[in-house]
Structure formats: structure tokens, C-alpha cells
Amino acid sequence: MTVMTPQRSFVRTASEEALPPPRTVAGPLAWVKENLFSGPINTAVTVLMAWFLFWIVPPILDYLFFSAVWTGQDGSACREDTTGREVGACWAFVIDRVNYFLYGSYPADLRWRPNLFFLVLAIGIVWMLWLDAPRRGLGAIYFFVVVPILSYWLLAGFPAIGLSNVPTGVWGGILVTIVVSAVGIVISLPVGVLLALGRRSHLPIVRLVCVIVIEFTRGVPLITVLFMANTMLPLFLAEGITVDRLVRPLIGVAFFASAYMAEVVRGGLQAIPKGQYEGAMSLGLSYPKMMYFIVLPQALRIVIPGIVNTFIGLFKDTTLVSIVGIFDLIRTVESARIDPLWSAPSVNYSGYAFAAIFYFFCCWGMSWYSQSVERRLAASEKR
């Protein structure tokens, strides 16, 4: 029996709604204070940067978008005396010439071939780069064996199956930029690994040869290699024997990238503890098996950022082939802007702006990928 007594005590059944933290500790204002104005130096830097952005961003946006000309048939569309206002980028020119920037002089009716090449390459890249992709071993074979053969047939031609020959002289634009960097990347990774292993080998002659190749290639600027290949080489060869004008810089670029890649990979090899080697040997693994199953997987994983870094550098270095008369993206921009049909003051900069945007997004994509891989691999080291 209970006596119902009036409730005297107060028991809280639900907790009081929490007060928001003081505005100086959390929230956007606090974030701003914490990150942008935390001290006199930071405040000064913030103000300076804000002023800098204010100074540089509106003109860039204005140039690229607001006062840009998007349509037109020739240079007069991008001239101030016809538009009656200040003209920013002349995108009409870029749109008119976009096929030339993409394929160079590649015959118009055969352009499905470069398109298919881009697709084949894209599949290979995604397969290789997507770490959770199925059958990645197969992907590697596809990328390093199938893609080069298919690409060669598609671009240069294979008359036996009905693909007519297209001389490399008419390749150009982004196609050439991608071919040169892809060849550099596909060759430099395996060759670089071999050179790195050779340099750490205990066999004196192998080591000496690898050291000479690496140091000699690294000791010469790329532009020198390209000039040697394109200007000097024809003089050394017997008359009538010519090496394709595009293959010459390709070999030069591949050599160059391999030497740098070898040093990156060597860094990874040196970071593997000796115990791993000894453990592998104590299991009775032969040298190739030890390298293939134990050492290289670990070493390459460590140096992925370095490898991607080399790729980014290589990708941008390919613009140097324009100096020796290969029509890469930069060279096509330079020859297109000379066309008297499109002579307007802003045409020069529009072409270069297009190239800059292309290179920025490619390099940014690579670096973004490298960072995500880095984060993923660092998971084991996080607590």
C-alpha cells in the first residue's frame, strides 16, 4: 500500500538542452579566429592573401568568362572594334580549332582511331589506378602489353586488318602529348625497376652499366637529348636510313624518365629492412622470386608518391618536344594562332590559356590520385 504523497523532489527525466558553446570557441567565427586571425603574423598574412585574391581573381574570372567571346567565325569576332567592348579570352578560336588541338593533322575521316586509342588507354589507366578494381594482375598485363600493341595498330596503322598507315608526321596536339607521356610512363616503370635492381646488384659489371646509364642520362638536360635525337642523329646515320621523327624524341623521353624512375625505385628498395631480404632467403626463395614476391611489392608501395611525382614531371616535360618540331599541344597552339584568319589581340593568350587549363587538370588529377593513395597506404601507420 502506498500512500500517494505529493511529489516534493524534482527528478529530471530528460537532460536540459545543452547550451551552444561560446561563439569564441566553436562555430564559424571561432574557426575564422582560430585559423585566420590567431596572431598578428597570421592576421597580416590573411589580410595580404585576401587582398591578393581580390586583386587577381576577379580579372581572371572576367577574362575567362564574363568578357570572353564564345562564338564567331573568324578573328573579327574577337576584336574590340566589332564587339564594342573589351574582349577577354577568345574561346571562339579555341572552339574552332579544338579538333586541331586534339588530333593535329590526323586525317579527319580516321579520327575514330585516336578516339578509340583514348578509350583503350583510359580503360588501362582506370584498371591500374583503381586499387579495388577486379583482376588487377590482368590489368597490369593489359596496360603494359595489350595497350601498347593496340595503340600502335590503331594510331600508326596495320594494313593487314584494314587499318591504313598514318605517318607520325600528321599526328599532333593532345594526341601526341598523351602518346609521348604514355610511352614514357609505360617504358620508364619496368626499365626503371630493372635499372634500380641492377644498381643494387652484387654483380660488378651489371652494377657498373646501370650506374653509367643512370648517371649519364641524369647528367644531361632533356632538351639536349631531344636536340641530339632530332637534329644530330640524322647526320650520324647513313644517308637514306631515317628513324621516324616522332620515335626519336620518344626514345629520348623514355630513356630520361627511366633514369629518374630508377632512382625513385632505389629509394624504395633501400627503405626495406634487411630482415625482409634475409627472411625471404631463409625460405629458400631465388633472387627473382624474392624480389617479385617480397621486396618489390613493399618497395613500390612506399614510393608511389615519388613515382606519380615523376609522372607529373614527365607529363609536363613533354612540351619540350615542341622545340624540336614535334606538334604536341603547345606547338599546335602556336601554329594555329599564326593563322591570319584569326588575327586578333586576344587569340594568342586564349590558346595558351586553353593549354594551361588542360595541363592543370591533368596534373591536378595525378596529384590528387597520389594523395589519396598516400592516405590509404598510411592507414597501417596510423593509431
Binding site: G75, R79, E80, D81, D96, R97, N99, Y100, Y103, G104, S105, Y106, F144, V145, P148, I149, Y152, A156, G169, V170, G172, G173, V186, I187, P190, V193, L194, T231, M232, P234, L235, A238, E239, G240, I241, T242, V243, D244, R245, L246, V247, L250, I251, I323, V324, G325, F327, T332, E334, S335, A336, I338, D339, P340, L341, S343, A344, P345, V347, N348
Partner: protein, 341 residues
């Protein structure tokens, strides 16, 4: 990995083309065997060799390459272009990578002799000139005493400029740039009083100005730049073909034979010069190892010299150059077609 390497090696080896070593006398035969002419062309020069929106090369020098292809194969597309930079052009020709250069090369004694080249014809007489801002009120290069001049460094242009001012006892301030584009930009932004380069280049650079009417090209030409095709020394028959191609195009203009009326004149004309030019009389084609219709094909498919000039660089084109020195000798110019007889 080994497999991959082997594949790559094969791919590269396939790109290495071994063309048969042939004696210098057989350029024409090599071209016939190959099925196309290989023409060393400019990497981009306004009006002379520029790619269009589809990447097809067009321009004055390019049409000469096509005319040569027509003379040999009766097909303006039987030619492939290898764009060559100024540094590469002569080694590429010497090494046999190209059959002929049509790329604004100045004929000079040292090139003709010590480089082992031949300049069979001059298809464009150029010379260095000046462009100044119209507001200066300058009408002659001789009034440029004390002017600052934007110029590309390391070129004969720079040397010619110095020679001109020294010869006329005038002072000037050269403002040099590594790239021609930079020199133009500097001039347009008011950094210098005058800009100098070859006269054919001045006209197209003027179009790049915000208001082209603000700039005048001065009448003085201060250097001689005879530009023409280049072939390897030693294959005289091949040089003959290139030379007579140019003369045939000049003769056609002189006789009033154009791409439009070539067929009609061939059927009806009684003038002996035209009959010989169009292959009705004589066997002039056979003399240089070609078909007797060679010049008729060139004129009907490409046109005479005047047509090619007007279409690409003349007053009917955006470049808008006047004929000047390149007028026929009958109009006071230097283009003098030798008689085909």
C-alpha cells in the same frame, strides 16, 4: 615484365623505317616508288604555311608543294608535310628525310655552297622592313634617328638593323627579345617606337594589333631576302623539275592562263607559247622525266603564280601583301619566267 619489354622493343623497332639507300640522282624515282612527295614545310608562318581548323596545311609554300605533287602524280594530295623548325630544316633535307624544302629559306652563298644545297628558284622576294605607330607621323625609315626598335635577337634581322642605322649615320636603341611574339607584344604595348622583321611578317603582325590602322609599314626595305625552295646538291634533274615548275607557273600568269581557262586555252589557243606551256606542242614534260601534261595539270588544279599569290598572301587574303618585287617583270617586278621552248 620481360614480355612487356619485348613488346615495347618490337613496337619501337616497327617505327624505325629503313628506306633503301639510293644514289643522289634518283630523287624522282624514290618519290614515284613511295607514291608521294615529302615536303619540308614551315611550322607555321602566316599566309605561307598554317594549319586550318582540320589540321590541313594551307598557304603559299604549301600550295607549291601541292603543285609539285600534281606535276609528278597529277594529285594535289600525294604529298605529306613534315613541318621543320629553322634549326632542323637543312639537316632534314641533307639526311634525305624530305625531298624538297618549301619553307621560306633565304638563298645565300654559304647555304648554296658549303651546306651542299641548291636553290633552284626564288618564289618570293622578301626584305626587312619597319612598322611604326601612325601617331609618330613618320613616313620614312630615314626619319627613325634616335628611335627604339623592338627586334628578335640572334637573327639576321638584328644584324641588318645595325647595318642600316650605321650606314645612315643614325642612332637607335635596340630592344631585343628571344621570341618574335614577345617583340611584337612589346611594340604594341608601346615599349618601342618601331618594330622590324621581314616585310611579309610585318603585314600579318599588324593584323594582331587592337586597331591595325594605328600602325604603318614604312616603304623602306633594308635587306634582301630571296626566299625559295631548297633541294639537295647533286640531283640536277630533281632541281630542274622544281625550277621549271616555278617558271611554268610564272609563264602561265604572263600568258593569262588560269585554272579557270586552262582547259579552254588548251583546246583552242593558237599561240605557240601557250601551246608549248600546256603540253599541246613539244615534249617538255619528258625532258624532265614527267608527263607532257605536267604543267597543264599544275595550272588547272592549282593555278598560276598570281592566283596562288592572291589566294594565300595577296590583297584578296587576310594577309594582304601587295605584289611589290614579286610582280611579273612586265609589271616592274622581279618574277621572270624563263621561256618553255
Amino acid at each position: 615484365m620481360k614480355k612487356a619489354l619485348t613488346t615495347i622493343a618490337f613496337g619501337l623497332a616497327a617505327g624505325v623505317a629503313f628506306t633503301g639507300v639510293a644514289a643522289a640522282q634518283e630523287t624522282l624515282q624514290q618519290i614515284r616508288d613511295r607514291g608521294q612527295l615529302i615536303c619540308g614545310s614551315n611550322t607555321g608562318l602566316s599566309g605561307f604555311g598554317v594549319p586550318d581548323a582540320q589540321g590541313n596545311w594551307t598557304g603559299f609554300d604549301v600550295e607549291y608543294c601541292r603543285a609539285l605533287a600534281v606535276a609528278i602524280f597529277d594529285d594535289p594530295n600525294a604529298v605529306s608535310f613534315i613541318p621543320l623548325s629553322a634549326k632542323d630544316r637543312f639537316t632534314a633535307l641533307q639526311a634525305g628525310e624530305v625531298d624538297v624544302l618549301f619553307r621560306n629559306s633565304t638563298s645565300t652563298m654559304s647555304r648554296d655552297t658549303s651546306l651542299g644545297l641548291d636553290f633552284p628558284a626564288i618564289n618570293y622576294y622578301d626584305g626587312q622592313g619597319f612598322m611604326v605607330n601612325a601617331s609618330l607621323g613618320v613616313t620614312s625609315a630615314l626619319e627613325l634617328d634616335g628611335a627604339s626598335v623592338c627586334v628578335q635577337q640572334g637573327t639576321t634581322t638584328e644584324l641588318n638593323l645595325a647595318d642600316f642605322f650605321r650606314r645612315n649615320n643614325m642612332d637607335y636603341e635596340p630592344v631585343t627579345f628571344a621570341q618574335s611574339v614577345e617583340a611584337v607584344e612589346a611594340y604594341l604595348s608601346g615599349r618601342c617606337d618601331a618594330f622590324t622583321t621581314d616585310a611579309s611578317g610585318l603585314a600579318s603582325e599588324r593584323l594582331r594589333a587592337p586597331t591595325p590602322g594605328d600602325h604603318v609599314i614604312l616603304p623602306e626595305i633594308i635587306s634582301k631576302e630571296p626566299l625559295g625552295p631548297v633541294v639537295r646538291h647533286g640531283d640536277n634533274n630533281w632541281a630542274d623539275i622544281v625550277r621549271w615548275l616555278h617558271y611554268a607557273m610564272l609563264e602561265a600568269e604572263e600568258y593569262g592562263v588560269t585554272s579557270a581557262n586552262a582547259q579552254e586555252l588548251r583546246d583552242t589557243s593558237e599561240a605557240p607559247g601557250i601551246r608549248r606551256l600546256l603540253g599541246v606542242e613539244g615534249n617538255f614534260g619528258e625532258m624532265i622525266g614527267l608527263d607532257n601534261n605536267w604543267s597543264f595539270n599544275v595550272i588547272s588544279k592549282i593555278g598560276n603564280y598570281g592566283e596562288v599569290f592572291d589566294r594565300n598572301i595577296g590583297e584578296g587574303s587576310p594577309v594582304g601583301l601587295s605584289r611589290g618585287l614579286n610582280a611579273l617583270y612586265t609589271d616592274g617586278g622581279l618574277q621572270y619566267g624563263h621561256p618553255i621552248r
